[in-house]
């Protein structure tokens, strides 16, 4: 039964059947071959109950917030301010790229949106100041991945829903690793540009007045961060309520910047629903498949099988990391999470890993998946932004940052407190 299910899933997905349809059809097939009762009858009920869950409502709201912020003009101003603060370092603008990504990540729950937004603003500068283009592109692709590690995070919400983990705890747990990873990224740039000064481009100096004047442009992103993340810890709002408040704050910000119009709102709604519906169809299908799998006892068999491999705690973690690194090369990240987490996470929890800690590990692995070829969406985003030049430049430029991510995973394994200390202070 396990063999049939896995083979079937692999075949369906390899044949480019949409991921949602693959999961749904697999559920129907398993029911036909192994179900004692016609389980498919529950499809309607499962679809209804999974799609009006209050926690999941935060998902489209964060997508909407991202769409609004993208159109609010916040990114250019923020980038300009960060350039004034960071461009004296060896590596100049590349540090601003990473910092701008980290800061934008604090308002956005999506890595792709972060890379696209910051990249659009930053890329025209690369040639003007003579940077090593490959590394410059790498900072954007890799920096963008911070979008899902630094809260808010769409992927964390999905992990929370799939594993019954608390979103507020996950958000807090992401903050320190997010900052550490940002610093690790900057160290890569610093090391590279000290070793090869030619890569660093022309440095620009800003006066103190300019630097101070720029600070005002950092306020809007911090404000959004306070609303969508701060309100949760102030005990004012649940994650979904915080996301709603964030949407309101984003609209106010867009209105303030005179970017709010009917046309803009139409684009926001269309963009939001397109992503939402795509993700929701996968979630509904995955819920249905999980329902069928547990009803026919496949879930237990599968976890038994993985446990039966006899891996120890750390061997298992190593195996999971390798598994996600390989799978991440070929699969879109949300589908990868939704299909694998319900099986893998319970095994890891049983082995004694903390659910919140493991969540952060998964998120970092997802970040790596976003910048590993051939299917790393962030690589493509950045490649397309530059219009011309070989894709290889981006892949090579992003590679050192994959190493930073592996270092981050090692740090997390050695010092679980990096993720768990902050949540423990609050809860």
């Amino acid at each position: 039964m396990i063999g049939f299910a896995l083979l079937m899933l692999l075949v369906l997905i390899a044949l480019a059947i949409p991921v949602a349809a693959s999961l749904g059809v697999l559920g129907l097939l398993l029911d036909r071959f192994y179900g004692f009762l016609p389980l498919s009858k529950a499809a309607g009920e499962v679809a209804w109950s999974s799609s009006n869950e209050f926690l999941l409502v935060s998902l489209p709201l964060f997508i909407m917030l991202g769409e609004i912020l993208l159109r609010s003009g916040l990114a250019e101003k923020m980038y300009g301010a960060l350039v004034k603060w960071l461009s004296w370092l060896p590596g100049g603008l590349m540090h601003s790229n990473i910092a701008a990504c980290a800061l934008f990540a604090a308002t956005s729950g999506s890595s792709v949106a972060t890379a696209a937004t910051v990249g659009t603003v930053a890329l025209p500068q690369a040639r003007r100041f003579g940077y090593n283009e490959s590394l410059f592109l790498g900072t954007l692709a890799a920096g963008g991945t911070l979008g899902i590690l630094i809260p808010p995070s769409i992927n964390m919400i999905i992990y929370a829903v799939l594993t019954n983990t608390s979103v507020p705890k996950l958000y807090l747990a992401g903050i320190i690793p997010g900052v550490v990873l940002t610093l690790l990224f900057m160290m890569v740039v610093l090391t590279a540009c000290i070793a090869r000064p030619g890569w660093g481009g022309t440095r620009t100096q800003s006066t103190l007045t300019e630097m101070l004047a720029g600070l005002i442009h950092l306020l809007p992103p911090l404000g959004i961060f306070m609303v969508v993340v701060g309100s949760i810890y102030a005990g004012i709002a649940t994650p979904t309520e915080a996301a709603s408040l964030g949407v309101m704050a984003g609209l106010l910000l867009a209105a303030w910047a005179r970017r709010l119009s009917w046309a803009m709102l139409g684009q926001v709604l269309e963009g939001t629903m397109r992503t939402t519906a795509m993700v929701m169809l996968i979630i509904v299908a995955a819920y249905f498949l999980n329902f069928v799998m547990s009803a026919i006892g496949l879930t237990t068999r599968l976890t038994d099988f993985i446990e039966g491999l006899g891996f120890g705690k750390w061997e298992m973690l190593f195996a999971v990391i390798v598994f996600y690194l390989v799978l991440g090369c070929f699969m879109e990240t949300l589908s990868m999470m939704i299909t694998t987490i319900p099986i893998i996470a319970p095994v890891m929890f049983k082995l004694g890993f903390d659910p919140v800690w493991f969540g952060i590990v998964v998120i970092i692995l997802i970040e790596a998946a976003l910048i590993t070829p051939p299917v790393g969406l962030n690589l493509f985003v950045v490649q397309n932004l530059r219009r011309g030049g070989p894709m290889n430049d981006v892949i090579v430029g992003a590679a050192p940052f994959v190493v930073s991510m592996l270092v981050m995973l090692l740090l997390l394994a050695l010092l679980p407190g990096l993720a768990l200390w902050l949540p423990a202070r609050f809860f």
Binding site: V57, P60, M273, F288, M331
Partner: protein, 205 residues
């Protein structure tokens, strides 16, 4: 025949786009109600009650109303690692199989989703909350989304099936081809560019 189908799909696209926008507007309305509820609770210590429930319905309905739109913009995630290396004829057949697989799942959900709605109606089921919403009301709107999803798939399947019979693989790909990661990235960037107004700078270079 193909001209008629093309026109029908064109009309369906307009409907689907507006359905998705309405779904989004519903979600935005949900967000507004939830925000008002949070603020009222904090400042005046009164709760409207039921804001979370209503936004849950808005989400379920909004997502369901957008499924058809995703089909028409070819927005469903497909793993194309193998697909991109296949000859056009084989890829076109897979495009049709992909649509049929979506239809299989969509129609099962729509079929039994009707039972969920009809069951709520005949039992007079109400939500277990202070609002006590008759459940069939949000459910019928939600079900309409799945029905529209399945019908849209039927329409696109007819068009793609016809194109396949005529060995017009370019048309198959236009209506149902997998979007490459490249295309996904491109659309992500277009929205970023449109938003930040950087397009002129890039174009001038």
């Amino acid at each position: 025949m193909d001209a008629i189908l093309d026109r029908a799909i064109g009309r369906a696209s307009v409907v689907a786009r507006w359905a998705a926008r309405c779904g989004g507007a519903l979600l935005l309305a949900g967000a507004i109600i939830v925000s008002i509820d949070v603020i009222a609770r904090k400042l005046f210590a009164v709760s409207l009650g039921g804001a979370d429930e209503l936004s849950g319905y808005a989400f379920a309905i909004g997502a369901a109303w957008s499924f058809a739109f995703v089909v028409l913009v070819r927005g469903n995630v497909r793993v194309d690692a193998l697909y991109v290396h296949l000859p056009a004829a084989l890829a076109a057949i897979l495009d049709l199989v992909a649509l049929l697989a979506l239809l299989a799942f969509a129609s099962v959900v729509a079929w039994y989703g009707w039972d969920v709605m009809a069951g709520s109606f005949s039992r007079g089921a109400r939500s277990n909350s202070s609002l006590a919403v008759p459940l069939w009301m949000p459910q019928v709107l939600w079900w309409l989304g799945y029905a529209m999803f399945a019908l849209t798939l039927l329409l696109v399947i007819a068009r793609v099936g016809l194109a396949l019979l005529l060995r017009d693989f370019a048309a198959v790909s236009r209506w149902a081809g997998a979007r490459s990661t490249e295309e996904d990235a491109q659309s992500e960037i277009e929205s970023a560019r449109a938003a930040t107004g950087v397009a002129e700078v890039q174009g001038a270079r």
